[in-house]
Symmetry: C2
Amino acid sequence: MNKPTVHDIAKEAGVSLATVDRVLNARPGVREATIAKVQAVVDRLGYVRDTSAANLARQRQYRFAFALPEGPSQFVGTLRAAIKEASSPPVADRLAVNLVTIPSHDPHGIVQRLRGLNPARYDGLAIMAPETPQVRDAVDRLKESGLAVVTLVSDLPNSMRDYFVGINSIAAGRTAGLLMGRFNGRAGEVLVVTNSLRSRDSLERRLGFDAAMSEEFRHLTVLPTIESYDDPRRMEAVVCDATADRPNLTGIYSMGSGNTQIVKAVQHSGAAGRLCIIAHELTPTTKAGLRSGELAAVINQNVGHLARSALRVLRTLCDKAPMFEAQERVRIEIVVRENLP
Amino acid sequence: MNKPTVHDIAKEAGVSLATVDRVLNARPGVREATIAKVQAVVDRLGYVRDTSAANLARQRQYRFAFALPEGPSQFVGTLRAAIKEASSPPVADRLAVNLVTIPSHDPHGIVQRLRGLNPARYDGLAIMAPETPQVRDAVDRLKESGLAVVTLVSDLPNSMRDYFVGINSIAAGRTAGLLMGRFNGRAGEVLVVTNSLRSRDSLERRLGFDAAMSEEFRHLTVLPTIESYDDPRRMEAVVCDATADRPNLTGIYSMGSGNTQIVKAVQHSGAAGRLCIIAHELTPTTKAGLRSGELAAVINQNVGHLARSALRVLRTLCDKAPMFEAQERVRIEIVVRENLP
DNA sequence: GAGTTTTTGAGGTGCGTACCTCAGAAAACA
DNA sequence: TGTTTTCTGAGGTACGCACCTCAAAAACTC
C-alpha cells in the first residue's frame, strides 16, 4: 500500500472524510471515542499529511520577520544577504520574509521596534539580539500572541523562544583557544578584543577561550577583554597601543567585528609576522586576511546554513511538524587559508 | 499581483490553458510564433511553476539509486545511514531511494552491478566509485538512458555525470598538510597511509598534502604512501613497524579508512604522546580518538550534507529546475576535540 | 417519548498544475 | 478549390488536502 491518504483513513475507520478532517485538524464537534478510533487508524496505517498538498489547499503563506541588528557589521551583512537569497523564489515558495533592523546596543529601542511588529501579520520571528530582560519580555509577548520564535546566532535561553539556531558559543571560544595554543608556540601575551561583551555569545566565547587556555596552554597569558563599542577608531587605537607597548604580545583573539581595523593596525605596526590572530566569522575582510596570511584562522558559522535553518525551523514550527534536528545543528567551522570556500 | 499562475499566463498571452501547458512542458504541436509569445509573457510576469502543485498533479515519484562501496568502512556506514535518514518520511516525500552496494576495488564487478540496474526503474543515480574507464563507461550508459547522475565523494570528472557532490580533495589534502605543519612543531618524518591510492580522492589528497608540506613546512619529511588494501592487519603492522623503526617519526597522516587499527597500533607502541595524527572523516573511531587526544584533527565532509545535497541535486536535475549552488557546496570541515559536534 | 443538543455524513469548491480528448480553426499543400 | 496537415481552444479529470454547508443521525435531557 502506498502512502495512505485521508480517504484510506476514512474507509478504514468507518467514518466519513469530514470526520477524519475534523480529527486531523483538531476541529471541534467530534466525540472522544471517535477521535481515538481515527487516531488509531492514523497510527496503524502510518498516515502522514502531505504538507505540500495541504499548503496548496490552504493557500498557505509563511510570513516571517527577521530582526537583525543595524550597523556596519560585515557578518550581519552577509547574514542578511543569505536570508534574502534563501527566501527568494524559486528556492522558497509561499514565503514572505520581512527583514527588520533593530538598534544594536539599545534594549529600549529594540523593544520599541518589536512592539511595532503587528503579530497578526506574521507567523514567525527570527531574532538576533543581546540578552536583556526587556528584550526577553518583548520576545515573550510576540510568542504569546502566537508567533513561532527562533533566536539566531545569539540565544535568549530564558525566553519562551521555540528554538535556537546558532552555535554553542562556549565551544566556539574553546576552539579558538585550542587553535591559539597550537598555532602559537611562543610564550607570551594574548590580546582579546571585541565590540561589546553585552551580548550572550561574546561573553560565552570569552568563557570558552579562557577555559581552553588555562587547561592546556599555560605558556600564554590572556589579557582582559577590551571592548571597542563599535567604534572603529577605538578598535584601531587599542590594537596599535598593544602592539607597541607589549613586546611579549604573540596573539590576538578577536571575538566580534572590527577585524578590518585590527588587520590594518597590525600591518602598520609591523608586527604582522610575530602575531597569531584568530577571529570570528568569514567576511570579505577575514577572507582577505586568511589569504594574505595575517589571520591564522577564523571560527565561522555558515550564514547560509543559519538562514536556511532558521527558515526551515520556523516553517516546521508553523506546521507543527516534527523537526529533523540533525540538519539544524550549525557547525563550528574552522577556516584556514587552505579550506577557504 | 500575487504569484502569477498558468491562468494568468493564458489570459495575458491570449491563448488557452492547453497551449500554455504545451509550451511550459515542451509538448509538441505549438507553432514557434506562439511559443515565443507565451514565453515572453512568462518572462514578463515572472511566472515560476509551483513545484509542489506540479508534483501533486503529476503524482511524481523520484526513484533514485545510491551506489556505495561495500566493505567495513565506517565512513561509508555513516554515509549510508545519513542517506537512509534523509530519504525517509516525513522528511522526504515522493522519494524512493534504493541503496545498492558495489564491490570496492573491482571495476568489473562494479560494472556488472550497474548493468543490473534497470534504467526504466530509476530517475537518478548517485555513485561513489573509483575512477576507471569501465566504470566511467557504465555510468555514461546510465546517463544516456536518461538518468540524472551525480558522483558522490569521489568524482568521475571525465564522465557524463551531471554534478559532483563532495569536497575538493586537493584542498582537503592541503588542509591536512597545513594542520600537520602547524600542530607538529618538531622536525621529523611523517608517515602517510591509506587503504588504496586507486580512487581519485585518495590520490588528490596526497597531492594536496605534499604541496602544502613542501611549500611551507620544510622541517617535516613526508614518507611515501603506504597502502593497506583494506587489510586491517596490514594497516596495523605498517604503523607498528614505523613507530618502532623510525625514532624521528612525529606525525601520521591517514588518508582513508583503517583508523581504528592506526590508533590501536599507536597506543600499543607507546608513541601516542609524541605523534601528531591527522585523519579523514568523522566516525565513531575518529571521534573517540579526538576525545582521548590520540588524534590531533580530523578533516571531515559532513555525511548528512552529502546525502541531502545529493538528493536535492538529483531532484533538481529531474525537475530541470535551477540549482541553488551555494547550498550544495560541501565544506572541508576541520574537527578538533573542541568543536566536535 | 418529545424535545434539545451534539455528532456525523454527504457533498461541494478550490488550491495550481498535469495530462487527456475532441472538435474546430488555421495554415500548408495539391 | 478542396484536402490534408498542423495548430489551438474548450473542457474535463485528477492529485491530496482544507474548509464550508446542510441535513440526518445519534446521543443526551427532562
